[in-house]
């Protein structure tokens, strides 16, 4: 288990071994997924005009999109990339301190748990029903299962409040 204490306010600090491993996996999957989406889209167009298009390219891109999104969900949390309305946050934080941060984290965590839970449920359903993709005829659980695991990793990042960067200056100033 990680040694990091659960604090209300996400702070920049060295990650524990579990978090470090989670971040490495998330970055690897997100970067690979993004690169492959670009490469397959490009090669498919080139192939259409000069050779042969890639069979099932749109379906591959669909799968890569899902994996990239859920891998990057935790990365967005760790880098404060998620979109929020920050106009009152600095003021509320000054007034209510840790209890305010805790409340917001519980709210965000609930949403991330809901997403992960849905994906786990859909992965189980897809596996039980042996659902296949239409063109490539790949088992859908191959995609939904890892997507669910990546969403759970995002829940972990939210749960421990891991932050890779300090909160953006502009966001803080917006609330002043």
């Amino acid at each position: 288990m990680d040694q990091q204490p659960v604090t209300a306010m996400p702070v920049t600090r060295p990650p524990g071994p579990v978090t470090r491993a989670v971040m490495v996996v998330l970055k690897a999957v997100a970067a690979t997924g993004m690169f492959l989406m670009m490469a397959i889209t490009f090669l498919d167009v080139i192939g259409r005009y000069f050779m042969k298009p890639i069979f099932g390219a749109p379906e591959m891109i669909q799968f890569l999109l899902a994996l990239t999104i859920f891998a990057a969900m935790g990365l967005a949390t760790a880098t404060h990339a998620h979109i929020t309305v920050d106009i009152f946050t600095a003021r509320l934080r000054r007034r209510f301190g840790r209890s305010y941060d805790l409340l917001i984290r519980v709210g965000n965590l609930t949403g991330m748990i809901l997403i992960a839970w849905q994906l786990v449920r859909l992965a189980v359903e897809a596996g039980a029903a042996h659902r296949m993709s239409i063109v490539l005829e790949w088992p859908l659980v191959w995609v939904i299962g890892p997507a669910a695991a990546l969403a759970l990793a995002a829940v972990w990042i939210d749960l421990i409040g891991y932050s890779e960067t300090a909160e953006p200056q502009a966001e803080e100033e917006a609330g002043k």
Binding site: K27, A30, A31, T32, G33, M34, F35, M37, M38, A39, I40, T41, F42, D44, V45, E59, I61, Q62, F63, L64, L65, A66, T68, I69, F70, A71, A72, M73, L75, A76, A81, H82, I83, T84, V85, D86, I87, F88, T89, L92, I104, G107, N108, T110, G111, L114, I115, Q118, L119, R121, L122, V143, I144, A147, P168, Q169, A170, E171, E173, A174
Partner: protein
């Protein structure tokens, strides 16, 4: 009507408290749907909605254009674009401010992000404008306003998202954004010219400053990429999604050629940054579409159709009302959030009223642009302030006001002359 009112109040409260917009809309949409139909159907609806959107091929256009923007940002072409623009405007009073607008437009044409454009141009243009003792408001205003061009000049992520929600042709929307984008460039430059005519002391003369033409390779690369993307879409050589993939490869090649992608770590940084931005956009998409399912289930869009009918609102009256709501929302919400919350609810009413949805898309995106530079949120201004740290925020917001007026003039022109929007897509269709 009571349940939707309560849901909207809770949603706004959660957003203002600082809960992620995507999470707030998702939770409120989920709980409200569960209260109407039960927990099981709410689980089924939201799970399927999230999975369908995450695996929607058409939505892959978003990460690919985001990736293109991050590659271009990494390629560091902004300084050269700025120098080349300044060479063209060096004999005009306020040449640096004019160059800022032109460079913002060129950068936007391959970047697609307003915040990235504003951040980049602050680093590039602010030091020069300070050196020539430009009024702080003029300097910050031209950068912040120039940054907004990022979401009007194609490729633009908000236009993409609008096209997907309203089920409009992305290629037609991109074409539709070209003339309004260029019109805003002209209006911003006119604003600078009028400003300097009224207050000549707002900028010192720059005679002899950096008047050698520079940066031609960056200009050619950026314009070449823009022409390739829009030309390919226009000539129907590829779809918008394919154009995004080609654009990303092109932008990567520019970054490689300029020596900005030397190692695997450089590539990883770019890919991770693009994926992180993508995830933040998709969280908003998931939430808004789950909320829209709830709004659809209780029949909100049709309640609005009935209301519009009862009020005997004309098509233009309806559009003006939506503009007003979007302007108010723009004071607090980010452009994607406004589009996702507003468009699905009003879509049936707009269709019933016979509003051209391509024209409306440009209008609504232009209005969300306004939100980027108007207080209290005005993210572009905060970006300029956060980079030019010793600037005065009040002076910056005051400096943006003339550009807000210019955007309102642009909005009025588009409302009065829809052909400014519809002419180019019409040519493509013809």
């Amino acid at each position: 009507m009571t349940s939707i009112t309560i849901a909207i109040i809770i949603l706004l409260a959660l957003c203002f408290l600082g809960v992620r917009i995507g999470v707030a809309t998702l939770l409120v949409g989920f709980v409200a749907f569960a209260l109407e139909r039960g927990f099981g159907p709410a689980m089924q609806m939201s799970g399927q909605r999230i999975l369908d959107d995450a695996m929607n091929y058409n939505l892959s256009v978003i990460p690919l254009f985001v990736l293109m923007g991050v590659f271009i940002f990494r390629a560091d072409v902004s300084t050269e674009l700025y120098r080349a623009a300044h060479h063209q405007f060096r004999n005009l009073r306020g040449g640096l401010a004019h160059a800022t607008i032109a460079a913002c437009a060129a950068f936007s044409a391959v970047c697609g992000s307003s915040l990235a454009t504003a951040a980049t141009m602050t680093k590039v243009a602010m030091p020069s404008m300070r050196r020539y003792q430009y009024d702080e408001g003029l300097a910050a205003g031209s950068i912040a306003a120039g940054g907004t061009l990022g979401i009007m000049i194609p490729p633009s992520v908000p236009l993409l998202i609008y096209g997907i929600i309203a089920q409009q042709d992305i290629a037609a929307l991109f074409m539709a954004g070209v003339i309004p984008g260029l019109m805003l460039v002209v209006l911003f430059m006119l604003t600078i010219a009028i400003w300097l005519r009224l207050r000549p002391g707002a900028a010192r003369a720059e005679s002899g400053a950096e008047d050698k033409p520079r940066g031609s390779s960056a200009v050619i690369a950026v314009l070449g990429l823009f022409v390739l993307i829009l030309g390919g879409i226009y000539a129907e050589l590829f779809t918008a999604t394919e154009a995004a993939g080609i654009g990303a490869v092109g932008a990567a090649l520019i970054a490689v050629a300029r020596g900005r992608l030397k190692s695997l770590a450089d590539w990883k940084d770019v890919l991770v940054e693009a994926s992180s931005t993508t995830a933040s956009l998709f969280l908003v998409i998931f939430g808004a579409l789950v909320f829209a399912e709830y709004a659809n289930y209780i029949g909100l869009p049709y309640m609005i159709v009935d209301w519009v009918d009862a009020m005997q609102l004309s098509a233009i009256g309806l559009v003006l009302m939506i503009i007003l709501i979007a302007i108010v929302m723009g004071m607090f919400f980010e452009s994607i959030g406004i589009l996702l919350l507003l468009v699905p609810v009003f879509l049936p009413a707009l269709m019933t009223a016979g509003v051209d949805l391509i024209w409306f898309g440009i209008i609504v995106v232009l209005v969300t642009e306004l939100g980027l530079i108007t207080p209290p949120v005005g993210m572009n201004v905060f970006v300029v302030k956060s980079i030019a740290r010793d600037g005065n925020l009040t002076a910056m917001f005051l400096g943006v006001l003339p550009f807000v007026v210019a955007m309102l003039v642009g909005l009025a022109l588009i409302l009065c002359f829809p052909a400014l929007v519809t002419w180019l897509p019409g040519l493509m269709a013809g």
